[in-house]
């Protein structure tokens, strides 16, 4: 994160866990143990780390999607523009409107058309969409999907290819004009061509919106992210500008991970 950038999201001592249904929190499995970090405004932050390191959980804690899972609990604070999203008076629904989430698997709503999928956030919330056609076109253009789907806007969203579906999901998220967009391995189900499209899109959105992207693809993190955070076993190991993390990491665990030696020479 560049030193001058304002922090859009500040996470402090964030703890997250999963308890089996009906069991007390003391017997829960911990997913995050006291993570504190800042996400700079209008920058791309990549979260990297081995499976089970808590990247996705951290992402889902930021827009209060973690608590949707049965038995999931959270402690600590997440502040969006200085306001704790876990505050007593804060409505999680409102938080999720301001902080959008793009999932690992493309998930257009199956009973809706391509057009309706773009407008889903408004329509399903019962809100009128003034100039809906213009919004659909501008959002689909933004994700470079318009030319491919302009003749089949009334076909089901699920009739598109995987890469197109993922871009449709990003368009659906962007249509709500979120301040922060969280992306949970958005390219892991896509081929290299579709992946390149999404990365182009990230580059384009950079400086307009705050983006946090979880990825297992280190080259991708190096290509798209301004800063990169390495998580391991529910802890934040380091969070530095991407160039620093990939060329001169502070912690040996980070170095082991990015050089692919993780678990072989030094283990955890």
């Amino acid at each position: 994160m560049s030193a001058s950038a304002r922090a859009k999201v500040v996470v402090e001592d964030l703890r997250a866990w999963f308890a089996a249904p009906g069991r007390p929190a003391s017997e829960a499995t911990s997913a995050l143990s006291g993570v504190s970090m800042r996400f700079a405004e209008n920058e791309v932050t990549a979260l990297i780390g081995p499976s089970g390191s808590g990247k996705s959980t951290l992402l889902r804690c930021i827009n209060r999607m973690h608590e949707v899972t049965r038995g999931a609990g959270v402690g600590g604070s997440v502040r969006l523009d200085g306001v704790d999203v876990y505050g007593a008076k804060v409505d999680p629904v409102e938080v999720r409107r301001r902080i959008g989430l793009v999932f690992q698997r493309p998930n257009p709503l199956p009973m809706l058309s391509v057009r309706e999928n773009v407008l889903a956030g408004f329509r399903l919330a019962g809100e009128p969409v003034p100039q809906a056609e213009e919004l659909v076109e501008s959002m689909l253009r933004r994700v470079a999907l318009w030319d491919e789907v302009k003749d089949r806007l009334d076909r089901p969203g699920t009739s598109l290819s995987g890469g197109q579906q993922q871009r449709l999901c990003i368009a659906r998220c962007l249509a709500l004009r979120p301040e922060v967009m969280l992306m949970d391995e958005p390219c892991s189900a896509l081929d290299p061509v579709a992946t390149a499209r999404i990365e182009e899109l990230l580059n384009e959105l950079r400086s307009k919106i705050t983006i946090v992207v979880v990825t297992h693809n280190l080259q991708q993190a190096a290509r798209v992210a301004d800063s990169t955070a390495f998580l391991h076993q529910g802890e934040l190991i380091e969070h530095e500008p991407t160039s620093v993390v990939f060329t001169n990491p502070r912690d040996p665990r980070t170095e082991n991970y990015i050089t692919g030696r993780f678990g072989r020479t030094t283990g955890s």
């Binding site: 249904p21 009906g22 827009n63 999607m65 949707v68 629904v93 409102e94 938080v95 999720r96 409107r97 301001r98 959008g100 989430l101 999932f103 698997r105 998930n107 257009p108 709503l109 199956p110 009973m111 889903a120 956030g121 399903l124 919330a125 019962g126 999901c169 659906r172 998220c173 709500l176």
Partner: protein, 266 residues
């Protein structure tokens, strides 16, 4: 060696195929036999007459009203268990629904007769429909719950992630995604209610045969069939066979419609 085991395998294969076909025929034969038999008996005894259609219309009315009671109640109970209730409440409601779904249908008639019917008068359409509705609701509740549990978690999360209130997610995303299956279940339950006479024995008023001049307050094919078949009069029995034929065909048609609706993907 290979050759021997090959023919043995082929023989076993043939045997199992034939056993399967035989079992299927064994299931199909009674249904087809009953349809054919009732048709022949009804024709021989001159059972077909216009009044049958009055009874059919009465049955369909009763069935529609029963669905009106049973479906929303079952749907809401199922929704509650699947989406809102804690594990303990869910388990309790599920068990009650299972017990009710397995209870003898006659009991629903007894229950309505001894409670509601004492206010509305023993013989009217309303208590009958209520009894049938009670018969439908538990099955609808279980079907709703199970169908909702099949909604992919990803779909639910996609909608929640868009900043939709949880009740909107259930109502506008989860339910629509299983609506064709729910429609199929509803039609199949309607077909079952159509053929059910037991819950009506206490609530449909004086049980008259199909030949009775006035067809009682709530004409029902199934109930009329029961009454007419018990009669010693061959003409009355002919009407019962005719009723059986019409009922069977209607139930089979409704079930088939339910299937086709249920299998159609949204």
């Amino acid at each position: 060696m290979t050759h021997t085991s090959g023919t043995r395998r082929a023989r076993t294969d043939r045997l199992v195929s034939w056993a399967g076909a035989l079992a299927f025929a064994g299931l199909l034969a009674p249904v087809l036999g009953l349809v054919l038999w009732s048709l022949l008996e009804a024709l021989a005894l001159g059972g077909f007459e216009l009044r049958l259609f009055a009874a059919l219309v009465g049955s369909l009315e009763l069935c529609a009203l029963a669905l009106l009671f049973g479906l929303p109640t079952g749907l809401l109970a199922g929704l509650h268990v699947a989406e809102l209730a804690g594990p303990r409440v869910a388990r309790a409601v599920r068990m009650i629904a299972d017990v009710l779904a397995g209870a003898p249908p006659l009991l629903f008639g007894v229950l309505v007769h001894s409670t509601v019917a004492s206010f509305t008068g023993a013989s009217s359409l309303l208590p009958s429909a209520l009894a049938l509705g009670l018969f439908i609701a538990p099955a609808m509740a279980r079907a709703t719950e199970e169908l909702l549990s099949l909604v992919p978690e990803g779909l639910r999360e996609a909608a929640l992630g868009l900043g939709l209130a949880p009740w909107r997610v259930v109502l506008f995303v989860c339910l629509p995604s299983v609506r064709s299956s729910l429609g199929g279940v509803a039609l199949a339950l309607g077909a079952r209610a159509l053929g059910e006479a037991a819950p009506l024995l206490f609530t449909a008023g004086a049980v008259r045969g199909l030949g009775a001049a006035v067809f009682g307050d709530s004409p029902s094919l199934a109930l009329g069939l029961y009454a007419s078949m018990s009669s010693a009069d061959p003409a009355e029995q002919g009407k019962a066979w005719a009723a059986a034929f019409v009922l069977l065909v209607t139930v089979v048609a409704a079930s088939a419609l339910g299937r086709s609706v249920g299998e159609r993907r949204a």
